[in-house]
Structure formats: structure tokens, C-alpha cells
């Protein structure tokens, strides 16, 4: 192994390179660790090797196939005790208080009970595919989450139980496995750094949550964004002074959206602007650099050319009402 031994020119004899040896040992250890983990993972049975559990497409059960949640509680006592505070408990009040709760999701339980707790005779969600899981939940919740089946989450195989847990939730009200944003960061690791930047929406601090702007169940908008009632950007729900409508609009705000100038998650720049210098941001558009292709940019400018060397203030020092004005076409007031 040449890597571990280097020949020192001065002494003309091989010398053992300890630093390089340490690196090799570290890499070898890491590789062995990864191999152990991966192989132990491969040793786990894949879903297709398991005995198929009762799926959502099983033969419809008749009334006599249901045993009631009291029967379920005789064995699953711990789960049943905690269920009294679960929103799904309301299902028991259906059909003249004869409604079902456990079997509403897990399927009719008679065969499971008669089989002495045969797990193949009851719906176990851990053995279902994402689509099968979603079909069960959407039996009741499709109305409220109508876009879910076409959403990015559903397309990526993220099921209801990826985020929610009926029996082991951290958040009782929404039955989430963890509170936001920790739950969302589990997968969206690339978004987390943005909220650690100096200027950011206060998601980590608990003032806002990811679902204030995004609907994880899907919307008709890109990036699963919400909108306000009047189909304005969701930003205007809190930043109401930018909603307008104004007599003199800054057109890009309404046509391109707030993200034309701002980075909504976080930025090292104040006001979460996309660039650090306001003048650069404005001049990127308000600049007659190619009138043939951008004839409208120049005509919006109107005013005099400013000497940047003496224009020590930012554009918005004078053009203060930059989101729109009711009195000045140049947004001075």
C-alpha cells in the first residue's frame, strides 16, 4: 500500500505516514459501518415477502362482521384508553351511538377476534402501500383534502401516515407525528438552512408554521401554496398593506408575485430580498438594456438616470411605496 508509506527524499528510506493511515482507517471504519447497516437493512423482509394483510380492497364486510371498539379494548387496552381524547372518537357517536371507531379504519374485526388475534385478518397500516393507506383515510377526509391525490406529496409516495399518526401523535389536534417545522424538516432537509439565515420568517420560533403558506395536502397552486380568498399571494394575509389594489400598481408584484424580489423562507439580506443591494435589484429590471426585447421596462422608468456614485441611498429611500401607491406613479408617496 503505497498510500501508507512515503519515501522521504532527504533520508532515502521509507517512512510510515501516520496521518494517511488514520484517514484510511477512518474511511474503512465508516465503510464497514455503512455496510453493516445496509446489509442488516437488506436482511429485513420487504413488504412483498410479508403475508398480505387485509387491504382496503377486501370483500366488503357485513354488519355482523363488526365487533365494536369495546371488544378491541379487551386486548388493545392501552390504545383504547388514550383514544378517548382522539378526534376520531367522534365516529362512535354515529348511527345512534352505535357507530364504530377502531373498525372504521382497521376493518371489520370479527375474523381477527375469531382467529385469536390473527394479524392477517385485520388491516395493519404498516403493511399497506402509500396508496392503500391514503384510500382508507380519504374515505372520510377526501372532501377537505380534495387535491391530495394529485399533489406532489402523493406523487412522491408520501402517505397520510408519513405525517400523521392516529395513535402515537405528538400533536393531539392534528394528529401529527411531530410538531411543525420539525416534521417537515424530516424530508425537506434542503429548506431547513434557509430558516437558519439571519433574516427569516419566524417558523423556528413558533410564530408561524409551514402550513400557514403551504397546504401539505395539495392545492391548485404550484409548490402547494395557499392563496388568499381573492386569489392574491398568501403573503398578503399577514402583509396586508401590500395587497392593494392600488391606483398605481408595481405590476410585477401582481403578475410575478412577491418572490420576484423576496426569498420567502430566509435570506442573509434584510427584508429577505434576493440580493444584498437594493439598487442592483431595481436596476435588473428598470434598465433599458435591451429595448427590443423588453420595451416595457424602460417605459416604466420614467424619471431621470441616477448617478450611482452619489446616489448613496437605496432606491427605496425615495421610491418608498414600492408595493403600490394611490397617489404617485413613481411611488414617492
Amino acid at each position: 500500500m503505497r498510500a501508507l508509506w512515503v519515501r522521504r527524499v532527504c533520508y532515502q528510506e521509507p517512512v510510515f505516514d501516520v496521518k494517511r493511515m488514520r484517514r484510511v482507517l477512518y474511511c474503512a471504519s465508516l465503510g464497514l459501518f455503512c455496510l453493516f447497516i445496509f446489509r442488516s437493512g437488506l436482511a429485513q423482509p420487504t413488504p412483498k415477502q410479508l403475508q398480505p394483510a387485509a387491504s382496503s380492497k377486501a370483500i366488503p364486510a357485513g354488519p355482523s362482521d363488526f365487533v365494536g371498539s369495546e371488544t378491541c379494548a379487551t386486548c388493545h387496552d392501552e390504545v383504547a384508553k388514550k383514544f378517548s381524547s382522539n378526534p376520531h372518537q367522534r365516529l362512535a357517536l354515529e348511527h345512534g351511538n352505535q357507530g364504530i371507531s377502531c373498525e372504521g379504519c382497521h376493518g371489520a374485526g370479527k375474523a381477527h377476534v375469531d382467529g385469536g388475534g390473527d394479524v392477517t385478518k385485520i388491516r395493519q397500516f404498516k403493511n399497506l402501500s402509500a396508496k392503500e393507506t391514503d384510500e382508507t383515510c380519504l374515505t372520510c377526509h377526501a372532501g377537505k383534502h380534495a387535491n391530495f391525490e394529485r399533489s406532489k406529496h402523493a406523487e412522491a409516495g408520501v402517505s397520510c401516515l408519513s405525517c400523521h399518526s392516529v395513535h402515537l401523535s405528538a400533536s393531539k389536534a392534528d394528529l401529527l407525528k411531530a410538531d411543525q417545522p420539525i416534521l417537515c424538516y424530516t424530508c425537506h432537509k434542503n429548506v431547513r438552512p434557509a430558516f437558519s439565515q439571519a433574516f427569516h420568517h419566524q417558523v423556528n420560533e413558533g410564530l408561524m408554521s409551514c402550513s400557514d403558506c403551504h397546504d401539505p395536502h395539495g392545492t391548485f397552486q404550484p409548490q402547494q401554496l395557499r392563496t388568499t380568498d381573492d386569489q392574491n399571494a398568501i403573503c398578503t394575509k399577514c402583509h396586508t398593506d401590500t395587497a392593494g389594489p392600488y391606483a398605481y400598481e408595481h405590476p410585477v408584484v401582481k403578475t410575478g408575485g412577491c418572490i420576484a424580489c423576496h426569498s420567502p423562507h430566509g435570506s442573509p439580506n434584510p427584508r429577505m430580498l434576493k440580493v444584498s443591494n437594493v439598487n442592483t435589484l431595481c436596476l435588473q429590471c428598470h434598465s433599458s438594456v435591451n429595448l427590443t426585447k423588453f420595451p416595457n421596462a424602460s417605459s416604466e422608468q420614467g424619471g431621470p438616470v441616477h448617478n450611482q456614485a452619489t446616489q448613496y441611498n437605496a432606491c427605496t429611500t425615495c421610491h418608498t411605496q414600492i408595493h403600490g401607491s394611490n397617489t404617485a406613479f413613481n411611488f414617492f408617496r
Binding site: 394529485r150 431547513r192 437558519s196 381573492d230 398593506d241 398605481y248 440580493v275 438594456v289 416604466e300
Partner: protein, 752 residues
């Protein structure tokens, strides 16, 4: 044979290594001692009373902040200060089955967080009763303090003097704000599981507080801008399930916005020779020039200093522009899964909003650079927003392996607006060639009328078709096509003393996009999903509007064991507009990887690393008497601008965090960790005298906290956070913005 140097190193144990080890032993012994003392403390129980099982908790305590460095920056970024706090208070009640209880609710949950002095406060209330109702309410309060010396640092260098008076350096942002936003959201659902259910709700958003603004007219006047904006929103809806899997919804939303922000002239004030207060504005890079050619300060020895009355200045200013906007929206939604293998949903919105600013009033007395001594502007504005949207989505499972999704979106908004302004100016009739603030305002000039009938509108139609194919139990693919047609209309036929005519145009833009997706399960513990999207537009509205865009997204989650989860995500958005001289390129790349290791309830690790790179480059024209080295001469299209810049901006950011959890027993839990966010970017500095945001900064926040359940229902909590922000590289001529704050939090917890 080991090298001589490595043998020396291996035989030497530095003294600090021993002391570290000893310290670790000591900490471990302390924690074990704590655990021994707490081992016999019983768990608190739920209280059952009056038919409810109730659990309450409260956390009280305080914070101690030891702050050094820039207080402005600390208040802008963190804003946590010393003082007592109610960290958290909660109550959770649910009815005991078959026990009589209060008729109003079966379950109630209320939480209050952050009261007593933290900038963010939060209250949540949820109540429900069986099949009768569900109620959710939330109140959030956020103090938004901004004092970052960037957007308008007036750059008064030290030592700008005139006749013994040194113009003070401004130490706060001229657009500082210190506002409070209070947001209330309530939502009531009656008969939530019935065939017909009703929903109603109310939301309120109040944003108020002082801030600073400015006006450029001769001098840069600073204004005290008293924010007072509020929005009230009501909605009522009916949900009807005519069939088991079909839902129809009719909803009415009404929002009412009230803008009552007003402006007053802000101090500090100097004085005129007649003793009247006046301000020369806040921007004096060099001494202001005055009409009579004399210095701006005639006597620096008076209190306050006496100003040359022929300088541009503000004696009095007020602006009052109340704005009222009503947004009524009618909404119809439907969703149905009653057709086998088909899920269809859609919605239709109509908004007919109207804005009125019935009375605009602005008064100025002083002297501007046009020789105007006084002006009064009155007028009004109206605007409408008519927005129509229609969306339809269909998901059809053609076979167990093949699915088809179709989505059509229509959106058309139109915003006609009118503005009428009348400005009456008064010049200096006494000394028209050398106007002075000591001379009374002259006779009113003929009114200058602004009459505008403006229009902005956009119509967008989008159709997206996606074919999904489940190739095997471990691989699924999707292929989609999107077509979008957008038409923007704009008109501003303005008649003013500045512009004779505005411009009207209609701009069509058509987009074709392809979307490819894949979801892979190489093993039962490993999932990868990815999307690639490419979009091409035949036109662009502005230089940053891309004609080509590409997006790559990958997520991966690997759970080799039940106690280890490793996830990674990558997102790359590339946008281009390769028009001559513009050559706009921007990308936003983000990547993150994290590992959560929880072998048991006694210890665990959470490690994360993230990288963000935001980059943009756009050809732009600018003028400068001190251009950048190697600045390129501007082409003819740039008009009177002299140089062509690149608008180069690159912001690579690294972020890392580690959180170690240690819980020797169920009564003691501690976390220790470190977070850092480091930016190392560059940009083209067009304006050497500007104060840009820092593109070289470190923001690190190590932390440690421990919770100890000392007895049944009682707990202690201690937390230490360090907020350390520092900047490097060119930050412009501004006061240093670095800060370091040690924040200690002590709390007492009680469960009952």
C-alpha cells in the same frame, strides 16, 4: 516504523485534554447524582372532576440577557431580553365516557405561549362537542423590530461640520420600524360529520406601531410613519354531502381592509433665525448647498443650531391618506370520488373588490429645490380588483398500474383604477431668485392636476396532464406536460406636469413544460423520489422573468434500523433569459442531509448539514462618476446611462447543526448542541457609497438545556443560548453590526 514526529505526538498528552476529561467526569457524576435524587419522584396524574379528565401545566420563569455589540442588530434578529416570563400555560380537558359533564363541550384544549415579554406570543383554543360543533381559535402577536443600517443609511461621515456644528451621524436605519402585528383566526364548524354542515369564521389582522419613512424633495426628510392597518375577514359556508363520497361547498368571504397610516415630520429639529423649528433632512455626505451660496449653518453655538434659511428644508409636514378596501369573494367547491377509480374536484371563485381613498391630504411648509415654499395636495383614488378563477382536477386510476391526472386552471384579474390629485404650490414671491424660509409663502399657483385612469390585468390559463405508471412494487414513474397561456395588460395614461402620456400594452406569454417524476424503493428501508421539470416561454415580461427554467428535485430517506433515519434533499432551480445584453441567469440551489439516531430513550443525536447557493447575473445599465474598475461602456439601448453592469450576485451559504440528547432517567432530559450559518458571497457593488447587506457573515448559536422533574408535577428547567453574529468583508461605511448575547432562561414547571 512510525515517523519521529508522530511518535512525539503520540507520547504527549496535552494538559487541557486531561482537564476536559476530568470535567466530563464531573458533569457525568453531577447528572447521576441528580438522577439518584429524583428516582423515587412519582408521576403526576390526570385530574378527574365534574365528568372531565383534565390536565394543566404552567411554566414560569425568566430570561437573563447579557448583550454586547450592536443592540440594533440583536433587536432586529433576536429581540429576546431580560425579564420574567410566562413561558407556557396549557389546559387539556376531555369528557370521561359515560360521565355527566358540562353541556358546552366534550373536549377543550388551550395553550398560551411566550407571554410576559417575548416578541412572539401565541394562544390556541380548541373546543368541540360530539357531532355538534368544532371550534378552533388562534391569536398570535409578533413584535417586528427592524433597525438594520442598510436600506437608507444616510452615510453622514464623521466630521461634517458647518460653523461649529457637526452633523450627527445617524445611528439607526432611516426606515426603522417597531410595529406589532396581532392576528386572530377563529373557525366554527356546526355538525361536522353530518350530511349538511355549516362553517363560519372571523379573522383579524392589526399591524400598528411607529416606523420611519422618508420623502425626497430637495432634502431627504425623515417622517414618523404611524402604522395602523387592520383587516377584518368574515366567512360563512355550507358543506353538503349529497352522496357518501361527494362534497359540495358554497362559501362567502368578506375582507375589509382599513389603512390609517399617517405621516408627521420627525425630529431632530434645528431652528431658523426667527426661532422656528426646521430640519435639513438626514443626508449630508457633504454640506448641503443653499440658494445664497452661504454655509448651511449660520450659528453652531445656539441651541439648537441656527440654519441658513435659503437651504432646502422642512418646517412642517403632514400626510393623511386613509384607505378602505372591501374584498367580497364568492366561492363554490366540489369534490367527488363516487365514480369508481375517478376522483374529481374543482372550485370557482369570484372577487369584486373595491378600494377607496376618499380624501388624500398632504401639507408641506419649508423650501424645496424648485423654490416651492408651501404645497397642499388633495385628491382621491379608487381602484377595483375583479378576480375570476376556475380550477378543475381529475385523477383517474386507469388500471392498478396506470393513472392519469388532469388539471385545468383559469385565472383572470382586472384592476382598473382612477386617481385625481390637485397640487397648489406657493413660491417665494418676496425673493423669487433666492427663496428663503423666512419669507412668507406667496400667492397660490394654478393647481397642477393629475388625472389617471390606469389598468392592470392578467389572464392565465394552464393545463397540466400527468401520466403515472407503477412499473413494479419498487418503482413508479410519471410523465407530465403543462401548457400555460398568459396575457398581461397594462395602461397608465397619465397627465401630469412630469409626463405627457403613459404607455398601454398587452403582452402575451406562452409556456410549454415537461415534467418527469420517479419514486424508487431500492429496499423497504430506502426511498428516493425525484422530479425534473423543464419549461420554455416564448416571451418575458421583465428581465428576471425566465424564458427557460429547469428544476431538479430529489428526496431520499433511509431508515436502516428503527432508531436511525438518514434523509437528504436537493433542489435546483435554474432560470435563463438569454436575450442580448441582458443574458439573465439565476439559480437557487439547496441541499441538505441529516441523521437522526435514537438508540434508546437515554440518548440520541440529530445532525444536519445544509448548503444554499443563490446566484444571479443580469446585464443592466447604470450611470456613475466613479465606475467599477473595468466597467464596460453602455450600448446605445441604455440611453443616457454610461455603463453596462452584470448585476452579479452569489450567496453560497453553509449551515450545520448538531443536537445531542441525554436522558439518564425519565426525570432528567438535557440537550446540548451547536448551530451555525455561514455566508461567503460576493456581488457587484455599483454604488461604492452604499451600505449593502453583508455577504460574509457567521451566525452561530450554541445551546444547552436541561429539564428535571424533581417531584410529582414539579419540574425545573435551565437553558443557555449564545447568539453570536459577526460580519467580514466589505460592509460599507456603517457602524459594526456584530453582536454577541448570552441568554439564560430559568423556569419552573408545574403539572396538575
Amino acid at each position: 516504523m512510525q515517523s519521529r514526529s508522530s511518535m512525539c505526538k503520540s507520547s504527549h498528552l496535552p494538559g487541557h485534554g486531561l482537564s476536559r476529561f476530568a470535567a466530563a467526569l464531573g458533569v457525568g457524576a453531577f447528572i447521576l447524582t441528580l438522577s439518584a435524587a429524583a428516582q423515587n419522584a412519582p408521576e403526576p396524574k390526570e385530574t378527574v372532576r365534574d365528568g372531565y379528565a383534565a390536565h394543566q401545566s404552567i411554566d414560569v420563569g425568566g430570561r437573563i440577557a447579557d448583550q454586547s455589540g450592536s443592540l440594533s442588530m440583536y433587536d432586529t434578529l433576536v429581540n429576546l431580553h431580560s425579564g420574567p416570563r410566562i413561558f407556557q400555560q396549557s389546559i387539556d380537558m376531555h369528557a370521561v365516557p359515560k360521565a355527566p359533564h358540562f353541556f358546552l363541550f366534550d373536549s377543550l384544549m388551550a395553550t398560551n405561549i411566550g407571554y410576559g415579554g417575548d416578541p412572539e406570543n401565541n394562544t390556541v383554543l380548541r373546543m368541540s362537542k360530539g357531532k355538534i360543533y368544532d371550534f378552533q381559535g388562534m391569536f398570535r402577536r409578533d413584535r417586528q423590530y427592524f433597525d438594520y443600517d442598510l436600506l437608507g443609511n444616510p452615510l453622514i461621515p464623521a466630521g461634517v461640520t458647518s460653523n461649529g456644528y457637526t452633523f450627527p451621524q445617524v445611528e439607526h436605519a432611516p426606515h426603522l420600524f417597531n410595529t406589532v402585528r396581532r392576528m386572530t383566526d377563529t373557525n366554527l364548524t356546526l355538525f361536522p360529520v353530518a350530511k349538511v354542515s355549516f362553517r363560519a369564521g372571523y379573522s383579524q389582522n392589526i399591524n400598528q406601531g411607529p416606523s420611519y419613512s422618508s420623502l425626497h424633495n430637495g432634502a431627504e426628510a425623515q417622517f414618523l410613519q404611524n402604522w395602523r392597518n387592520s383587516t377584518d375577514t368574515w366567512f360563512g359556508a355550507v358543506d353538503w354531502k349529497p352522496f357518501p363520497r361527494t362534497l359540495l361547498t358554497l362559501q362567502e368571504n368578506i375582507s375589509h381592509y382599513k389603512g390609517d397610516t399617517n405621516y408627521q415630520l420627525a425630529p431632530p429639529f434645528l431652528q431658523l433665525p426667527n426661532g422656528a423649528p426646521v430640519t435639513l433632512g438626514y443626508d449630508q455626505v457633504t454640506l448641503p448647498s443653499c440658494n445664497d451660496g452661504n454655509p448651511p449653518i449660520v450659528n453652531g453655538g445656539t441651541n439648537p443650531p441656527t440654519v441658513n434659511p435659503t437651504c432646502a428644508g422642512y418646517q412642517q409636514f403632514s400626510r393623511y391618506a386613509p384607505m378602505r378596501t372591501l374584498f367580497p369573494t364568492e366561492e363554490f367547491r366540489f369534490q367527488s370520488s363516487d365514480i369508481k377509480n375517478v376522483q374529481v374536484n374543482g372550485r370557482f371563485h369570484y372577487t369584486g373588490a373595491s378600494m377607496k381613498m376618499p380624501q388624500f391630504n398632504e401639507n408641506f411648509t419649508g423650501l424645496d429645490d424648485f423654490g416651492i415654499r408651501q404645497w397642499n395636495i388633495t385628491g382621491y383614488s379608487t381602484a377595483e380588483r375583479v378576480s375570476v378563477t376556475g380550477d378543475l382536477g381529475i385523477a383517474w386510476q386507469l388500471s392498478p398500474r396506470v393513472s392519469l391526472a388532469e388539471q385545468y386552471d383559469f385565472w383572470n384579474f382586472r384592476q382598473p383604477a382612477d386617481n385625481y390629485l390637485s397640487e397648489i404650490d406657493h413660491l417665494d414671491d418676496v425673493n423669487p431668485n433666492t427663496p428663503s424660509m423666512l419669507d412668507p409663502p406667496g400667492a397660490p399657483q394654478p393647481p397642477a392636476i393629475t388625472l389617471a385612469h390606469n389598468f392592470l390585468g392578467q389572464k392565465t390559463e394552464t393545463n397540466t396532464t400527468t401520466l403515472g405508471w407503477k412499473a413494479s412494487s419498487w418503482a413508479s414513474f410519471s410523465l407530465g406536460y403543462r401548457y400555460r397561456a398568459r396575457t398581461i395588460g397594462y395602461a397608465m395614461p397619465l397627465v401630469t406636469d412630469f409626463l405627457a402620456n403613459g404607455t398601454a400594452y398587452t403582452l402575451p406569454i406562452h409556456e410549454n413544460a415537461g415534467i418527469l417524476g420517479a419514486v424508487l424503493h431500492p429496499s423497504s428501508q430506502w426511498k428516493i423520489d425525484g422530479t425534473f421539470e423543464a419549461a420554455f416561454d416564448d416571451n418575458a415580461y421583465y428581465q428576471l422573468d425566465p424564458r427557460q427554467s429547469y428544476r431538479y428535485q430529489v428526496h431520499s430517506m433511509w431508515t436502516p434500523t428503527g432508531t436511525v433515519t438518514i434523509t437528504g434533499a436537493f433542489d435546483d432551480l435554474e432560470r435563463r433569459d438569454n436575450q442580448t445584453l441582458v443574458n439573465h441567469v439565476d439559480h437557487n440551489r439547496s441541499a441538505g442531509i441529516g441523521a437522526e439516531i435514537s438508540p434508546n430513550e437515554h440518548y440520541g443525536f440529530d445532525l444536519n448539514y445544509g448548503y444554499i447557493d443563490a446566484y444571479t447575473r443580469t446585464g443592466l445599465c447604470y450611470s456613475s462618476t466613479a465606475p467599477l474598475a473595468g466597467a464596460q461602456a453602455a450600448p446605445a439601448d441604455c440611453g443616457t446611462n454610461t455603463y453596462l453592469g452584470t448585476g452579479y450576485y452569489d450567496e453560497p451559504t453553509q449551515s450545520a447543526s448538531i443536537d445531542v440528547m441525554l436522558s439518564p432517567n425519565k426525570h432528567v432530559t438535557s440537550h446540548a448542541g451547536y448551530r451555525i450559518n455561514a455566508v461567503n458571497g460576493t456581488t457587484e457593488y455599483l454604488n461604492p457609497l452604499a451600505v449593502p447587506g453583508s455577504l460574509q457573515s457567521h451566525y452561530q448559536t450554541p445551546f444547552f438545556n436541561v429539564k428535571w422533574a424533581v417531584a410529582a408535577g414539579w419540574g425545573l428547567r435551565g437553558e443557555w443560548n449564545l447568539y453570536d453574529y459577526s460580519e467580514g468583508g466589505p460592509v460599507g461605511p456603517t457602524a459594526p453590526r456584530a453582536f454577541q448575547t448570552n441568554l439564560c432562561t430559568l423556569g419552573l414547571h408545574y403539572d396538575f
